[in-house]
């Protein structure tokens, strides 16, 4: 596989990885207020995503893939909401350990990386096209 | 490499032009005797050919430098464009000279 096609393959794997990351972020954001159903029950636990690189023998490029989607082990913050169905006898509810600001920052980072990978795909495609163009109009 | 292009094409044309020169008036040399018209026309062709070869070699040198990474892009573009212009002009002259020579050689004396 020539180097330019390898670049396309690597950038495509980057797009896939960043999309997974965006999916996890949007899950966290959507469930930022999801408490449990029964008194004292645990709420939604934040998910984290980790990447790992993998050397692709055929192309010589380092593909990226999702190594794991794990749960954030940090403690649940507690809020005083006596009316909530998940409130314990003192009226405290365990809220999801999702910090909306952190998730938004992660989302814009994921967008930036996604755009960069897209740029690489566009450029690799253009370079291949330029090479083929050498043969035209002769 | 590119210099070879110049040398190959113009030597025979110039020799032919020298042989047929008394009859040729193309080249816009104006009011001069037939012989001096002929010889200065051949000189002019010679000089034009040399200039073209030099322009081509300059363009090749600039391009090699550009590929190695240290040449001004605009200079490279100018050099290559001059080479293309010079080459096209010289080819047009070559074709004209060759066809004129053939026409003369076909003339009934």
């Amino acid at each position: 596989m020539d180097a330019l096609t390898a670049a396309l393959k690597v950038a495509a794997s980057g797009l896939g990885a960043q999309s997974e990351r965006l999916r996890v972020v949007s899950e966290n954001l959507a469930n930022a207020q999801s408490t449990g159903n029964t008194p004292g029950a645990d709420p939604y636990r934040r998910k984290t995503i980790t990447f790992q690189s993998e050397l692709d023998r055929a192309s010589g490029g380092s593909l990226v893939e999702v190594s794991s989607i794990a749960h954030d082990p940090s403690d649940f913050p507690i809020e005083f909401q006596p009316g909530n169905e998940a409130a314990d006898e003192k009226g405290y509810v365990k809220m999801p350990n999702v910090n909306v600001l952190v998730e938004m920052a992660d989302m814009s980072e994921a967008n930036r990386s996604y755009e960069a990978n897209l740029q690489v795909i566009k450029q690799a495609r253009d370079l291949i096209s330029m090479t083929i163009d050498l043969m035209r109009n002769q | 490499m590119i210099g070879g292009i110049g040398a190959l094409q113009f030597k025979p044309a110039i020799d032919g032009a020298e042989a047929a020169s008394p009859g040729l008036l193309q080249g816009g040399v104006g009011t001069q005797e037939a012989e001096s018209v002929g010889s200065s026309f051949a000189d002019m062709l010679d000089k034009a050919a040399t200039k073209t070869v030099n322009t081509l070699q300059n363009a090749e040198q600039m391009s090699i430098q550009a590929l190695k990474g240290d040449a001004d892009t605009r200079q490279v573009a100018d050099a290559v464009m001059s080479a293309q212009q010079a080459l096209q002009t010289t080819i047009a002259i070559r074709d004209k000279v060759v066809s004129a020579y053939l026409e003369i050689s076909r003339m009934n004396i």
Binding site: M1, D2, A3, L4, A6, A7, V10, A11, S13, G14, A17, Q18, R21, T50, F51, Q52, S53, R57, A58, S59, G60, G61, S62, V64, E109, S113, A116, N117, Q119, V120, Q123, A124, D126, L127, M130, T131, D133, L134, Q138 | M1, I2, I5, L8, L56, A59, E60, S63, I64, A66, L67, K68, G69, T73, V76, V80, A83, Q84, L87, Q88, I91
Partner: protein, 126 residues
Amino acid sequence: MEPVNLFDLATRQSQWLAVRQSAIASNIANANTPGYTANDVEPFEKVLDRTAVTLAATQAGHLGTETANAGFNVKPEEATGSIMPSKNTVVLEDELMKAGEVRRSFELNTAIVKAFHSMMTMVVKS
């Protein structure tokens, strides 16, 4: 050994640029991978200085990655700037700048090849 022929030099440079583009792609794709160090190809001048013997040793049929990288050395570059806690050394802006350079050089390369090729065919056409 340095190729003196214009077309050979242009081909060698375009191969080098393609390998560089692939290294940049790997860096950008792995910008968030923990422990990943950014790679880059050796400079083109170094490639030109190498002898023919070294080049012959990296012919096709040898190690897979060597064929893919056309015999150019792709090695990790030193980390500049701050070290992230995740030990990732990719700076996205630098990679995008490098990609821009690759594009400019590639365009110049194909333009030069096209111009000289058309000049050669011009001469042959009557």
